[in-house]
């Protein structure tokens, strides 16, 4: 919007919060706009329904979680306000301002720590009532089932030399140093703009420039630093943004760092998977709250939260404020608030002799805060010396706490870096990195801007350097040594701040804001025996809420240590696991369309044009049926049909030892397979389990052409290669030609007449009998023709180079027109093969089926030399069959579901694996696994169909053409 004077005014935005209209400036966060509008209660707490207001303003604490435009659990402090947005508070009834469920706050005596383990399970019959009640009142936002997500959830894969996590001073310097050293860099930052915490701490940002001037003036004292140059923040951001080798991913959180430096990143509705050769963790710190009475009241804020509201959302803090601190940041924030018009009642400094002072502000040294007064908002602060007495009350509307930091080191823990708590800096520091991982800046306890910048530059250079000469595991990285040295130099001005738990009091002192866990709850849990930090976490649920310990980790460990009489280092930390921050499931589940493989045969377009119903077969698309299964069936049985079998696995083997290899792989015999013949075979593993079946054609002395089933094509390829890998001395050369050949099966009594029109080859039964294999020209194309009959008719399986697949397919259909040929799909083929009792591996067999029991005993030649599965099959034969795969005819006119049960004497005996209506039989037929004693021709078995037992008769012979005369005609 442009005003009359021509200058650009911030655009005014209107959105809705719990039915009220709220105005926001362009670029302001929802939370900032609510603060400016005086809406200080933005949520209700999880258990006690206490009012909660803004605290961290950085998307970490749970206090500002709302439902935005139907999406639950959105942190409104990092959500920019947009016109027309509908924001609703959660976890309150009837409203966030007046929540009747606040009654739980008074009933806390009945809800001690772990109360759900102790209450509500007796009497048992009450549980369903309790469950209903708990489900209604517990939990966070509700998913709106009608409301779908706007747009799509998506995935992206990226690669980089160096990934820098965190766009603060250390991260920016690391990125620039690495990129200047000649590697590609990806910088991931959670904020919308680079700069880290300096964005909202302008005084600190200024100090960099002044220190820079100072450092360049006295560079002699730090000779090793002369290689580095400190530049102002705006220059730094500009150089990083403009650097051609640096990619910046903003408003994005790294939720996991997985093996091999594989980063999971959430950016809005997109999941980015970034593979980095080197990772620099420059995630900095987050501020920790103090534990005192009523420390959850609206009006109690973190210093950085107040600074964000002041400088990023341009808000004010009307009234008076008390600043509680133990470091320089408290003095900076007090001055900034004062400059913005807030009256600072006092600075309460826990240190006795702080180096800082504030002009014109009353300062209580050696004091801490005991309690916040007020019921819906802060109205005062009770402070006292560290000993606890005497107390005095200061009037204020805001309590701003600046009491130190918790390092954001969970990505380092996740990837296996070793950290140890260092008392001198009051935070855990890295003592050993994993290879190809570095840390820099505040996460290394280097809080001074100059130190952080140099640490970042060091890490950036080290990462770039190790891309040239990879370091071995366990070697200490220079960056650790550097950081340790620099921390040592700063030791005198760092203050151990273990004061974040105030002396005990009667009112609630919250440690975990997500789950409403108080200091008393933690102490009670420890008294009940959950003294280990891990069991304490699980029992009390401290750190298990939406913030995942970001607000409560320091305090819960400190309280646990104090109550156990241990040190913080002895107490340890809970295991860090991904996701580092809560993640919408949509981000994980989002579409990956571009990454899924779809395979289509050369004839696919023809099938689609012919109106075939296509179905999935592994990655392949295959025609299920063209017009009608009955018509397709009839064409094959009466005249001729053709099916696209290009999806079969096809392997060509050449070499002097191929016969030896086949004899070893298959239970069949191959030494006696003549050139020009094809044989059916099955493949077993060493346990004798049937893996797959297919045909093996001998096209020359040392040349074989094999087919596998569609689904097992890759597995058999791998299986062959595995056995060959251990036998490099065998002369077997293997080529997977699955994709190189299109294949079609021409079948039916007239199929010879059809094919005759397309070839000069002699197709007569004398020259080309059943199970012959030949190479000839079909429709002008070199083809491998196998006379086999999966569907039980005279038939030819024709393999041609895939680029001619469509040509030959169309030629066959054209040649067959006078015989009323029809293409047929998988559904017709299933019936046709079932009538011949031909099994499908993986459908009619499973991981317990051997060929002896699967009705293929004639295949297994136990008198052969060693072959895969021989020992197991020999033992199975000795033992005798336990179950057998048999054909059956059902006595009634129903088609049972697959896997329907076969019952013997009322007990489970087996199951059916295939069944369907057989036109040849005029009834339902199928294949079933039954106990061996029932596997006799004519035996009656009972099949359970819809709860009824229906008798069926076992049949040894195929249901169609038992003598095979049609097949061999």
């Amino acid at each position: 919007m442009t005003s009359e004077s021509g200058t650009t005014q911030p655009e005014s935005i209107e959105f809705e919060f719990d039915g009220h209209r709220v105005h926001a400036e362009s670029g302001q966060s929802v939370a900032g706009a609510l603060h400016a509008a005086g809406e200080h209660i933005v949520s209700r707490s999880f258990k006690y329904h206490r009012p909660r207001g803004l605290l961290c303003m950085s998307g970490r604490c749970p206090n500002c979680i709302c439902t935005v435009d139907g999406t639950p659990n959105v942190r409104i402090c990092t959500q920019a306000a947009k016109p027309g947005m509908v924001v609703k508070s959660q976890n309150a009834w009837p409203s966030v301002k007046f929540d009747l469920l606040r009654i739980f706050d008074k009933l806390h005596r009945f809800m001690p720590v772990g109360f759900y383990y102790k209450r509500m399970y007796k009497p048992r019959w009450m549980w369903p009532v309790w469950e209903k009640f708990i489900r209604r009142i517990a939990g966070l936002g509700t998913i709106n089932r009608e409301h779908g997500a706007e747009g799509v959830y998506d995935k992206q894969n990226l690669f980089t030399d160096v990934a820098v996590i965190g766009g603060g001073l250390a991260g920016l310097n690391a990125a620039l140093a690495a990129a200047d050293a000649g590697v590609t860099v990806t910088l991931i930052d959670e904020q919308s703009e680079l700069g880290g915490h300096l964005r909202h701490d302008p005084d600190l940002a200024e100090s960099i420039i002044s220190r820079n001037a100072l450092a360049s003036g006295s560079s002699a004292s730090q000779p090793d630093a002369s290689a580095f140059r400190l530049i102002s923040l705006s220059d730094l951001i500009r150089r990083v943004s403009e650097h051609p080798a640096i990619t910046v991913i903003s408003s994005a959180g790294v939720f996991g760092c997985y093996e091999g430096n594989y980063l999971g990143i959430q950016q809005g509705q997109r999941m980015i998977r970034l593979r980095a050769a080197q990772v620099i963790v420059a995630t900095g710190c987050w501020e920790r709250p103090l534990v005192f009475e009523n420390n959850d009241l609206p009006g109690v804020m973190l210093a950085s939260g107040a600074q964000r509201l002041l400088h990023l959302d341009h808000c004010q803090f009307p009234g008076e404020a008390v600043v509680v601190t133990d470091n320089a940041q408290g003095y900076r924030v007090a001055n900034q608030l004062k400059a913005a018009g807030t009256r600072i009642t006092a600075i309460v400094d826990v240190r006795d002799n702080p180096p800082e002072s504030a002009d014109g502000i009353r300062t209580f040294r050696g004091h801490t805060i005991i309690s916040a007064n007020g019921s819906r908002h802060v109205s005062g602060a009770v402070i006292a010396p560290l000993a606890g007495h005497p107390k005095q009350t200061l009037s204020c509307r805001w309590i701003v706490q600046a009491v130190g930091f918790t390092p954001a080191n969970s990505l380092l823990y996740q990837n296996g870096c070793k950290l140890r708590y260092d008392e001198s800096v009051d935070q855990a520091v890295v003592i050993q990195h994993v290879p190809s991982m570095y840390s820099a800046g505040a996460v290394n306890a280097l809080h001074d801007p100059r130190d952080a910048a140099l640490d970042g530059q060091h890490a950036g250079l080290a990462a770039a350097e190790s891309l040239r000469s990879p370091r071995l595991c366990g070697e200490t990285e220079p960056s650790i040594a550097e950081a340790t040295q620099r921390r040592g130099e700063r030791k005198e001005d760092s203050v151990p701040s273990c004061h974040y738990v105030s002396p005990s009091g009667a009112k609630k002192k919250f440690v975990c804001l997500c789950e409403d866990v108080t200091e008393k709850d933690i102490c009670d849990a420890i008294d009940e025996g959950y003294s280990n930090i891990e069991t304490l976490k699980r029992y009390s649920t401290v750190s298990m809420g939406p913030c995942q310990g970001k607000m409560c980790q320091s305090a819960s460990i400190a309280i646990c240590a104090r109550h156990n009489g241990q040190s913080i280092a002895e107490t340890g930390v809970t295991t860090a696991r991904p996701p580092e921050q809560p993640l919408p499931l949509g981000v994980l589940a989002g579409r990956a369309l571009h990454f899924s493989l779809v395979r289509r045969t050369p004839m696919n377009a023809w099938h689609e044009k012919a109106g075939a119903k296509m179905g999935d077969a592994g990655n392949w698309k295959r025609p299920q049926v063209y017009s009608s299964v009955d018509q397709e069936y009839e064409a094959v049985r009466q005249r001729a049909g053709v099916i696209d079998v290009s999806t079969l696995g096809k392997i060509e083997l050449r070499g002097a030892d191929v016969v030896k290899f086949l004899e070893f792989i298959y239970p069949n015999r191959f030494a006696n397979l003549k050139v020009g013949r094809v044989r059916y075979g099955v493949i077993c593993d060493d346990a004798g389990i049937l893996l797959d079946d297919g045909t093996i054609a001998r096209l020359g002395d040392d040349r074989f052409f094999l087919t596998t089933t569609t689904g097992n094509a890759d597995a058999i390829d791998s299986w062959f290669r595995w056995w060959l890998a251990g036998r490099p001395e065998w002369d077997v050369r293997m080529t997977n030609v699955s994709g190189s050949y299109a294949a079609m099966n021409l079948a039916g009594p007239r199929s010879r007449e059809v094919l005759k029109k397309l070839t000069d080859a002699d197709l007569s039964s004398d020259v080309m009998p059943y199970l012959a294999a030949s190479e000839c020209q079909i429709a002008g194309v070199s083809a491998i023709v196998l006379r086999i009959g999966f569907v039980g008719e005279l038939g030819y399986e024709i393999h041609v180079p895939s680029q001619f697949g469509l040509h030959v397919w169309e030629a066959i259909l054209e040649a067959g027109r006078e015989f009323s040929i029809s293409p047929f799909g998988l559904e017709a083929q299933r019936v046709l093969r079932l009538e011949k009792k031909h099994l499908l591996p993986g459908i009619d067999t499973d991981a317990l089926s051997n060929p002896l029991e699967a009705d293929l005993p004639w295949i297994v030649k136990l008198d052969k030399d060693d072959f895969i599965g021989k020992e197991s099959l020999a033992r199975a034969q000795q033992r005798g069959d336990r179950n057998k795969l048999v054909g059956f005819r059902l006595s009634e006119f129903v088609v049972p579901d697959l896997a329907s049960l076969v019952l013997c004497d009322g007990k489970l005996g087996g199951r059916i694996t295939s069944c369907g209506y057989s036109p040849a039989v005029g009834g339902t037929i199928g294949l079933a696994w039954v106990p061996a004693n029932l596997a006799r021709n004519g035996e009656t078995i009972q099949i359970q169909v819809n709860g009824r037992m229906i008798p069926a008769v076992v049949q040894d012979e195929p249901f169609y053409d038992p003598s095979g005369s049609k097949l061999k005609s």
Binding site: R275, G416, C473, D686, D717, P728, D866, S872
Partner: protein
């Protein structure tokens, strides 16, 4: 599992391009006892530490090769072709 394996043919690729093939084991010959066969067929070592194992580059060059890996950290320490392993 998101670690990378250095294929002797193709170089460094993510683990999901590969297929695990177990540790190399001696297949018993015909004279082995039933117990030896059962051991071979059904029992697998489960080492927490370094082991040599077969991997197959199924999504690319289809090579079976040997990888020395630390099962605790999934750190790949060495990859080599089988033929060179016997040298």
């Amino acid at each position: 599992m998101s670690f990378q394996i250095d294929c002797p043919n193709c170089g460094c690729r993510p683990v999901w391009e590969y297929h695990y093939g177990g540790t190399p084991r001696q297949r018993p010959d015909g004279s082995a006892t039933e117990r030896q066969w059962a051991e071979y067929l059904y029992n697998r070592p489960n080492i927490a530490g370094e082991q040599t194992e077969w991997w197959y580059h199924r999504s690319a060059c289809k090579l079976w090769f040997l990888v020395r890996r630390d099962t605790r950290t999934n750190q790949v320490l060495e990859t080599k072709r089988f033929a060179s392993a016997t040298e």
